[in-house]
Amino acid sequence: MPYVAVKGGEKAIENAEALLKSQRRGDDNIAELSLEQIEQQLALSVDRVMAEGSLYDRKLAALAIKQSWGDLVEAIFLLRAYRTTLPRLYYSNPIDTNQMQIRRRISAIFKDIPGGQYLGPTYDYIHRLLDFKLIAESETPIPSTAPANHESIPRIVDTLDKEGLIQTEISATPEQTPFDLTRQPRKFPASRDARLQNLARADEGFLLSLAYSTQRGYGKNHPFAGEIRMGEVEVVIFPEELGFEVAIADITITEVQMVNQFQGNQDQPAQFTRGYGLTFGYNERKAMSMALVDRAMRAEELTETVTSPAQNIEFVMSHSDNVEAQGFVQHLKLPHYIDFQAELNMIRQIRQPKNHV
């Protein structure tokens, strides 16, 4: 029979999986990566996978990175597919970032701020020179630490709030259940809680480029980095059956508050506007991008003209999720020969000489 086509059986799929597993493991003369090594030494990968996988579990994120051959988008997908099977037991109380155990805190809008600025573990001022010493086993580097600050340090942007110079953030009332993007259908126009959830899970690269586009004039909104802080916060739940609060975890987060272009009109004196970014882990580039895009997406509520992709809520939310995006782009690998045959028939029909003109 002359017919050979892309028909793959169960055996082919199983063989492909076995081949992938073996190539993922690589040369078995080289020691296997442990989850502890990934958790410790690829911690920023773990942070990204937790943030976009929207599941705070360092060990499972490390497992996903190991299993995905280091492909972080694939690791995020693995974590999400696991997360979606988990029951919702409680909503935590809102975390209080004023109570953060700060490891890093900077502000670009004041030279000196109450509570001080801490550079923390940052690449910002490192000369990006390949460190060839790392090729060999390096020595154990010893940090020169200042004692950690255990006092609560108020967020600097709140001082602008006291003067009424920046728009007030409206808190949800305790009766309002937050929108849950993973349990409720996405709808447009989308509320800010839905938008921020989407951005927190959004692909870092996509947000980075969108944020960059606002800086280059596609939805410009004059951002200042009001405050960036990274450290540990306590997550607390309040089980009604117990009647008291229970701390369930300390998690690392990065929070960014942007202070943006002021606005005012006859009814309201000029005020700065805000953009907000928050991610699991140490994800500063992502958190900053999120804050810029959050601000851009508030264009409509601030009665600005929506002209650019970053300001278009539907555009951003529909395309920011890399689990969705990777799937649909890659689905083009699936057979499409029926539709292609229909197109072939159509194009041949169109090209036929007309019978009557």
Binding site: P2, K7, V323, E324, D339, Q341, I350
Partner: protein, 286 residues
């Protein structure tokens, strides 16, 4: 039969299945209307049938017999993969025979063998919104559906005729359901569109990535858009299937060599086999 350990029957938890079933019931009540649902991440990629898989997982029962096809064929890798997923998480019986299936999940085709009352066909849908290429914003298309404002689609078809002399849509050809909602039939060739009309089976559509479910209940009017002077037509081949000799089924062109030699065979592998078993066929071993 046993299921994969650690997972619920049909993979999804019962609460999720109930929420999807609610969306399905609503969809059946408003034929052709898209119902948002909170689509889950599945262990397969979005865009690879997760909408259809979630619909199937929500309606499948222990006694169902499942058939899965992609491009009309039971043996394409994606169909094999989805079938083995359901075998793993449901342990239900599977079949390649259209007539024996109670539940059929499909991508890009409707089987040639007419469906019967009591059967359910689940379509995998990439883009549920038929107006998406004319208006990318969901906010706007929702308004257009509410107002039954489908003029833009007719203009598009008219422009095709002025440009090409034909309506140049060969698959995912828009249909009007129950004289009310414009609906995407999913990317089936327009050849299959007439099969949707007054079909005795229940037709369910799942779009996982776009988080929409819609339905055509049994015996519902489904009309392909056209004009009085440019009526809807389906394509014909001046060839017969190389294997079974069918002149009525959807044929798939197979390139045999790099000199342009081709043959045409049924895309519906079950139909073709049955047809051969019934003694039809012009296939000559060469």
């Amino acid at each position: 039969m046993s299921n994969e350990t650690g997972y619920n029957f049909g993979y999804l938890d019962e609460q999720t299945k109930r929420s999807i079933r609610r969306a399905i019931l609503k969809a059946i009540a408003i034929p052709g209307h898209q119902i948002p649902f909170s689509s889950r991440e599945m262990p397969m990629s979005y865009g690879w049938g997760t909408g259809g898989i979630q619909v199937t997982a929500s309606v499948i029962g222990q006694n169902d017999v499942l058939k899965v096809i992609d491009q009309g064929a039971d043996d394409t890798s994606n169909a094999v993969n989805i079938r083995r997923f359901f075998r793993k998480v449901c342990g239900v019986a599977t079949t390649e025979k259209t007539a024996q299936a109670t539940l059929i999940q499909t991508r890009h085709r409707i089987p040639e063998t007419p469906l019967k009352a009591g059967q359910t066909i689940v379509y995998q849908v990439p883009i549920p919104e038929p107006l998406q290429w004319l208006q990318p914003s969901t906010r706007e298309t929702k308004k257009m559906h509410a107002l039954e404002d489908y003029g833009a689609m007719y203009v598009k078809l008219y422009e095709d005729i002025t440009k090409y002399g034909h309506i140049a849509t060969s698959y995912d050809y828009p249909v009007m359901v129950h004289d009310r909602y414009l609906m995407s039939p999913s990317p089936i060739p327009r050849f299959d569109n007439p099969k949707m009309n007054m079909n005795p089976a229940l037709q369910l559509f799942g779009a996982g990535r776009e988080k929409r479910i819609y339905a055509v209940p049994p015996y519902t009017k489904v009309e392909s858009l056209d004009f009085a002077d440019y009526p809807f037509t389906v394509e014909r081949w001046d060839k017969a299937c190389e294997f079974c000799g069918s002149r009525t089924s959807y044929l798939d062109e197979v390139v045999l060599d790099d000199a342009g030699k081709r043959m045409w065979i049924c895309s519906d592998t079950d139909y073709c086999r049955e047809s051969q078993e019934a003694g039809n066929g012009t296939f000559v071993e060469n």
